[in-house]
């Protein structure tokens, strides 16, 4: 059995590696692998932290107060907690320039999903229309991943959008706010289903509702946003730790992969990585190479490898990302109630809307805001701050946010390329993104339907508070070297095998030919398992 090098320890990389390890392959994983800070007081609840820590401001706002969100033109309703800064911390070795796109890249051990919200939604046949396989082909791998990571959910109206796979755990305990929303949905189901084509149900989350092996079920301490202290919320570093128990696995952190070498037969022979400890280039020979470092990084490695060998600068077209819209709302039935921070903090309810105008599915996740920072919301209220605080105290329990995701398709005007720099070791990654001409209309239409649906659920959207996030903010990047049945250059086979280099595989979003509205991480993991099972 050959030696397989995997680049990146994110959601795709670790599940790809684990599948290969179980089959007895020798796997070397190269990764930058930035480590998280130590978990603070794992037994304490969110409220206990505020009163129990010696320096709570340092924990919640960061040593440099980086989590304070000041009034700004583009300020968000919630930022990343300081404990998760390592997930998005930059790397000096990477140079990039972006236009129309706000890229986020991770060099953390476990990748971007170390800071995810755990949304796991299988793609339906309609979502997979442009993929060279159907849901039935992918279903066993969804079930396998569900078995590995633990997914809570249930069969409800959303099954029409999220097919039901095996190994689903019972759903998590609902908070009062979400219970009321679901009750309202049942009450107005006819109108919502028939007039708006809007469906509500439990979201599928990679959080344990029951104990699973060494991982404990969710303790409802309210610390989800601040980093689950008990590993109930799945992150890829859990699977990485599992992989590291295999004798045929070598994990090499502090390695920034710059390119690969290939021979005249267009076979990858070795991977070149810069050691971040010594700043020396290291060479790792391989029989096969799997790029799993995320669409931007994997594409850059691919382009740089061709550029270094041939001098050709290529352009990878079709970059995709989900447009995200944040719609804050107030649930009138929750006004004046006491909020309970000791509950699950991420989305417990999902919303699916079939939009006829664009014949597309609009995906929404409803988060009932409880332990997010208060100051970003209060500063946006149209009153002076003390009055806003007073008002906030009455509406705190009633606040929620609907996070809408829109699908994206591959378009030639959105591309990645590289640019030579005076430093021969490094090139600059260039990202260009232009929204489609119908984008503004799609957004408007989606907001309109969402507002109508929310109103029917007894919620009002405060004027002027809807936030359209910049492209790149969803961090669901895909599509630059897509799967294609035709053996064209700069594409892959149905098993994500490059048509340019026969022993090169793209096991992350790079090979996705379209980007459905649903969060893609679950499909990334399932697809990586599929490739590992069938191509090796």
């Amino acid at each position: 059995m050959g030696k397989i090098v995997v680049v990146g320890s994110g959601a795709s990389g670790v599940h790809f590696a684990l599948t290969l390890l179980r089959k007895g392959h020798q796997v070397i994983m190269l990764d930058v692998g930035k480590l998280p800070p130590k978990i603070v007081s794992p037994e304490d609840s969110f409220i206990d932290l505020k009163s129990g820590l010696d320096d709570p401001v340092d924990y919640f706002l960061g040593a440099n107060y980086e989590a304070v969100i000041f009034p700004d033109f583009e300020s968000e309703y919630y930022g990343f907690p300081p404990d998760k800064n390592y997930v998005f911390s930059k790397l000096d070795s990477l140079l990039l320039e972006a236009s129309g796109f706000a890229p986020l890249m991770s060099f953390a051990r476990g990748g971007l999903a170390e800071a995810w919200t755990g949304g796991v939604y299988p793609l339906s046949d309609q979502d997979l229309k442009q993929f060279p396989f159907s849901y039935a082909d992918l279903e066993p791998y969804y079930a396998e991943v569900a078995k590995r990571i633990g997914i809570s959910g249930q069969q409800d109206d959303l099954v029409r959008f999220y097919p039901l796979h095996d190994n689903l755990l019972p759903p998590l305990e609902l908070d009062t706010h979400s219970e009321i929303l679901l009750a309202q949905y049942q009450h107005h189901k006819n109108y919502l289903n028939n007039s708006l084509k809007c469906f509500l149900g439990r979201s599928r989350v990679a959080t344990l509702s029951v104990d699973m092996q060494t991982r404990k079920r969710c303790g409802y301490t309210g610390r989800c946003l601040w980093g689950c202290p008990t590993e109930s919320l799945y992150t890829p570093s859990i699977t990485l730790n599992h992989c590291r128990k295999y004798p045929n696995f070598t994990y090499t952190p502090n390695m920034y992969v710059t390119h690969f070498n290939f021979n005249t037969n267009r076979r990858v022979t070795a991977v070149i990585a810069e050691s971040l400890d010594t700043r020396q280039l290291c060479e790792f020979s391989c029989d096969s190479l799997a790029l799993a470092s995320g669409t931007l990084s994997s594409s850059k490695i691919f382009m740089d490898s061709i550029f270094k060998k041939t001098g050709d600068i290529i352009r990878l077209r079709g970059l995709m990302d989900n447009q995200q819209i944040l719609v804050p709302f107030i649930n009138l039935k929750m006004l004046g109630r006491k909020y309970n921070p000791d509950t699950y903090q991420y989305h417990q309810i999902a919303m699916g809307i079939q939009c006829d105008r664009y014949n597309e599915y609009i995906h929404g996740q409803i988060t009932t805001l409880k332990t997010a920072q208060i100051h970003p919301i209060i500063q946006e209220m149209p009153l002076d701050l003390p009055t806003s605080i007073l008002l906030f105290r009455y509406i705190h329990a009633a606040l929620g946010i609907l996070n809408i995701n829109l699908q994206d398709t591959r378009r030639d005007e959105n591309y990645l390329t590289v640019e030579a720099t005076p430093d021969s070791l490094r090139s600059r990654l260039i990202i260009r993104y232009l929204p489609s001409p119908s984008e503004a209309d799609r957004i408007r239409k989606s907001i309109k339907i969402a507002k109508k649906a929310l109103l029917r659920l007894g919620c009002v959207v405060p004027p002027g508070m809807i936030h359209i996030r910049p492209m790149g903010a969803s961090v669901h990047y895909a599509g630059t070297v897509p799967m294609s049945e035709n053996k064209l250059g700069l594409t892959t086979s149905g098993l994500c095998q490059s048509h340019d280099f026969e022993n090169l595989y793209f096991v992350d979003g790079t090979a996705f030919p379209s980007l459905p509205a649903k969060n893609l991480t679950f499909t990334l993991m399932a697809n990586a398992v599929r490739v590992a099972e069938n191509a090796f």
């Binding site: 409220i47 505020k50 009163s51 709570p56 401001v57 924990y59 919640f60 706002l61 040593a63 440099n64 107060y65 989590a67 304070v68 969100i69 000041f70 009034p71 700004d72 033109f73 006004l335 004046g336 109630r337 006491k338 909020y339 920072q373 208060i374 100051h375 209060i378 500063q379 149209p382 009153l383 002076d384 701050l385 003390p386 009055t387 605080i389 007073l390 008002l391 906030f392 105290r393 009455y394 705190h396 329990a397």
Partner: protein
């Protein structure tokens, strides 16, 4: 047996003493006793106090400090009455106090005695300068003892919180540039940290030669030029000096002191520094040290910036207190105040550098009271949404919501009576337009005026650049 020595310091909380304690590494000594009138100073770092003990007492009450003197190897005598005081007060502490201390040291055979006197003790005529006379008499008490001593006569000592520095700044910063006398008297300022270093060096190297050592900074300068250096830190102008004749002023002051001392800005004796040269004739063992001492320009800049930082710090504390009263109707704890100040350092780009002149003005006004803060907040919500003022309020809000017990203020209120809730909300919300209408005519014209002024200034700057 340990070779570490025990130190007894008088005036440890004073201007020079506090700097000396900052420079000292307590690990170099077995024990350090500090005799102060008020016990341990609040600003003293507790972490440093493992072998530093503060003794509350008076120099003239030897029974209190006798046990500590008896256990000490070296005595550093810094305690003194300086600045503006009655003659009796100078003599009580500087002369009599020194005599009592010297006697105690002789009684318990203290090995070494360091007395910090003043360069004023060598002025030509000190008969009308009680401070200098008391210091001279203090020196005599030391020199006539059996102790193994060193007497230091520092020149004018410059540092934050120094009375001399404050007086010179007041003279130099005012609309009139006042200089007493002809301004030609020469001084040789020494930075307080350099003086503390030299004292430490005498203690650790055992430089006790039964001598008087004069100690000054690396440069000498006329007093008028020194005042000009101070002015330059604050203003770019070079005004003509207004000289006040000492011949006239000294007799008037001497007469007035008898009745009006509390209201006089200074005494006749203090003006002697403007009359006689205050430079050194020798440096004894510290000639080499002068190379590393702060130059006049360095010390003036450092002290001024240290003072500015202190002023800024107090302004931020006041701001924090007012804003906290406005936001949550509570006094901020020391923890909140320190965090607020720290955030201004860490996010200086957002909170300091991006400040417009109008921002500066409204922040100063808002510090005055929570009511003014309310007016400015309401105005800025619509007309200065991204201003530094609002950022400061949001910063404090963020700190408060994450600290106990303030975070409970943001907890949701349980209100089951919806009608009452709506009335409450309606009342609070309806006050907002009223205050907005009040704030617009007050702040609006100033805001527009500052924008016009900024645009004119920008244009003329551009034209000048061309």
């Amino acid at each position: 047996m340990s070779s570490l020595k025990t130190l007894f310091i008088t005036g440890g909380s004073g201007f020079i003493g506090s700097r000396l304690l900052q420079e000292i590494d307590p690990a170099d000594f077995k024990l350090i006793y500090c005799l102060t009138r008020k016990g341990m100073p609040s600003e003293f770092q507790k972490s440093k106090t493992d072998n530093i003990h503060f003794v509350k007492g008076d120099l003239l009450d030897p029974k209190i400090y006798e046990p500590y003197i008896s256990a000490s190897d070296i005595v550093v005598h810094l305690a003194a009455v300086t600045g503006k005081a009655r003659a009796e007060s100078y003599f009580r502490t500087n002369d009599l106090g020194t005599q009592v201390l010297v006697k105690q040291c002789e009684k318990f055979n203290v090995a070494h005695f360091l007395y910090v006197s003043s360069i004023a003790a060598k002025f030509l005529d000190i008969s009308n300068y009680p401070y200098a006379l008391s210091k001279k008499q203090g020196e005599d008490a030391v020199t006539s003892s059996h102790l193994n001593y060193t007497i230091l006569r520092p020149t004018i000592v410059i540092g934050k919180d120094s009375g001399t520095w404050d007086g010179l700044v007041r003279l130099s910063k005012g609309p009139l540039f006042l200089v007493f006398g002809d301004g030609k008297a020469r001084i040789q300022p020494i930075y307080v940290d350099d003086l503390a270093d030299c004292i430490l060096s005498i203690i650790t190297r055992g430089l006790f030669f039964n001598k008087i050592i004069e100690l000054g900074g690396p440069e000498d300068i006329s007093i008028e030029n020194f005042q000009r250096q101070i002015r330059r830190v604050y203003y770019s102008d070079a005004p003509r000096a207004v000289h006040i004749p000492l011949k006239f002023l000294i007799p008037v002051l001497r007469f007035s002191e008898k009745f009006l001392l509390p209201v006089l800005p200074f005494t006749a004796g203090q003006l002697s520094s403007f009359r006689y040269d205050g430079t050194t004739d020798n440096h004894g063992p510290f000639l080499d040290c002068q190379l590393n001492m702060a130059s006049i320009e360095q010390m003036v800049t450092d002290v001024a910036s240290e003072e500015q930082n202190e002023i800024r710090r107090w302004a931020l504390i006041r701001e924090c207190k007012t804003f906290s009263a406005y936001l949550v109707n509570q006094t901020p704890s020391l923890y909140i105040q320190e965090k607020y100040i720290d955030a201004h350092k860490k996010r200086a780009y957002d909170l300091q550098y991006a400040m417009s002149p109008f921002d500066r003005m409204i922040i100063k006004a808002a510090r005055l009271s929570p009511f003014v803060t309310k007016l400015v907040d309401i105005y800025s919500r619509y007309f200065l949404r991204y201003s530094v003022f609002r950022k400061k309020l949001v910063l404090l809000l963020a700190i408060l919501e994450n600290s106990a017990p303030y975070h409970t203020y943001f907890d949701s209120a349980n209100c089951s009576n919806k009608a009452l809730l709506i009335i409450k909300i309606f009342w609070r919300v309806s006050c907002f337009p009223f205050f907005l209408l009040v704030s617009i005519p007050i702040l609006g014209p100033l805001h527009i005026g500052s924008m016009i002024f900024a645009r004119i200034a920008h244009r003329s700057k551009k034209q000048w650049a061309k």
